[in-house]
Amino acid sequence: MKREAYLVKRRYDLSVCLWPFMIVCVLNLLPSYTLAQTSSLAPQEIRVFDTPNDGGGSLTVQWAPAPGDRPDTRYQVLVGEAIATDPATFTIVAEFPADTKYVKDVKTAWWTRRSDKTWHQAIIKSAKGIELKDDTAYAVAVATVQEDRRAFSPLQVATPAADWFNWNQLNNLIIAVSFGGLVFYAISHAKRNHIFLRRIPGLDAVDEAIGRATELGKPILYLTGAHDLHDPSTIAAAVILGKVAKRAALYETELIVPHREPITMAVCQEITKQAYLEAGKPDLFKEDANFFITSDQFSYTAAVDGIMLRKKPAANFFMGHYFAESLLLTETGASTGAIQIAGTDADHQLPFFVTTCDYTLIGEELYAASAYLSREPVQIGTLRGQDIGKAVVLSVLAVGTVVATIGVVTGAQWPQIFLDLFRDLK
């Protein structure tokens, strides 16, 4: 324990080349422990155990670092049957320079680490000459090789086994469960309470665009994207279509909605009908405002481009997910002089929408806009849950940076206890 307490004060991320030197220093500073051992060459305090958190068939051996850990000295790891007693007859499964293979070389979390980071560690797996079977005991020894002398550690017996949980991934599991819980809590909260959502500026532009179309007496074109209704972006596009359709009905402006997917078309038809009903103009609703073109990317694009050129809509809406066709659509739209409003979560296409459209709902703004309009608790709650998730990430980033900086300045070890919680460890 005392060793660890001392080491805690050391800096944790010194460059690798400093390590051998550091270890020697550390050990020299701990005379009570090391001096008694230096006379013997053999590795000290060897521990062998089943490799934790794995699928079996492997053992881990750890031993204390020694002052003689120099590149010209080598370590050998030997494995034999449990009943054997002479390590010289064992199979050599690993041999490496004495200043390599430390616990710290393997990424592990503090909550699963069994010995100090400065210890040596080797993992034994089935290799040529020896096969490690689960639930069979094996004897393991470590030898120090200097020139042609070999000094063996005492034998240790251990049994490999398969594990049922990988404790290194505990933080991953905790994050998954707590975030999942958070989302459901936020949804149930949203069902009972009013949750504030900020107004999305793009939605004001929607009204303006419809107004312009009415003034000019030209139609409005609305696209719902490339994905089908399973995708949240398409659902959001359908919700926003409801709002656009209602406005169009109020102003008695023609609405054109070409589709790429029959099911989305059917649903959007219903939404449009409902919107005209709500606007009090059911007689103006036209069944063929929503129509299906084709599911093929470029045929669809060419057809929509054709509509833009022939009918010259005054406002084009591109909501949902898009691929390479985005630019073909918005460029043609721009050439007809229409006001263009886009909303997409396709980050690879955002640069094109942002440059060619008058207003773009960027990424999650699309979902937010639809939650804002639909007022559906599931959507609002999810958005709220994600907001809290982002707030947590932001705080972790802030606190983590401060803590890590303190760790560098003071050389303390405790910051790692916090930082490990948010690292990907396996």
């Binding site: 504030f196 900020r198 060419a302 690879h348 440059t355 990424g363 932001l394 890590a404 900086t405 560098v408």
Partner: protein, 251 residues
Amino acid sequence: MTMPFELIVGAWVATGLTLLIFTFLYKDNPLFKLAEHLYVGVSVGYIIVKTYDTVIVHLVVKPIIDNGEVALLVPVAIGMLMLTRYVPKAAWMSRYAFAFIVGMGAGLAIPRTISSFILKQIEDTVRPLLSLAGPDGVTFSMNLLNPASNLNALIILFGVGSVLFYFFFSIEHSGAGKAVARTGVIFLMISFGAGFGYTVMARMSLLIGRLTDLIEFSDASYGRPTIWLSVLIIGTLIVLGRRTKPTPPEV
């Protein structure tokens, strides 16, 4: 050296189809539509053949016949259930298949997304803002060109933070929040600009690739299809344009 006959025909066909698609640049026209439908047909045919060969022959039939892996009939049954979508009365049975795929996809995604896109990204963003230069010297490295320098770490922290903040929807962007959100927008715009610049490169390379082929096929050994077919297609376009005169003018 003479060209094999099928290569020469191939060169003519490939050149012709390439040029037909390029006519779209002039305007949407029947020649383009022809090439386009042919494209869809050929690729659908290709996918059907490949799926049949890979899935039915190599992943299902062979293992069952050679190794007796009868359990593989279960996914085949599930796959068949999907096809019930076309039978209105039995369409609900396809739900089992979708339930299995979607459920499994969602399950597989959760832990992996956390590990790859949340933990890993946090881990790399949380960097000490000071570094150890010498044995005891604590410094702040300002080198912009070294992606790992402290200054860049700080900029990244600001960028990630402000953009994340911009995507907060349940609080108003006012006061200090407004300034942070605006910084986020600036960062977003820089990234979109970079994306646009990089994509210009990508799209141009596609064109370069097609033109390289056209140049190759203008060689005499193929019978110069590029040149002859260009003339032919431009001629056709003019004829078509005459015939359908009363269309609205293009912008």
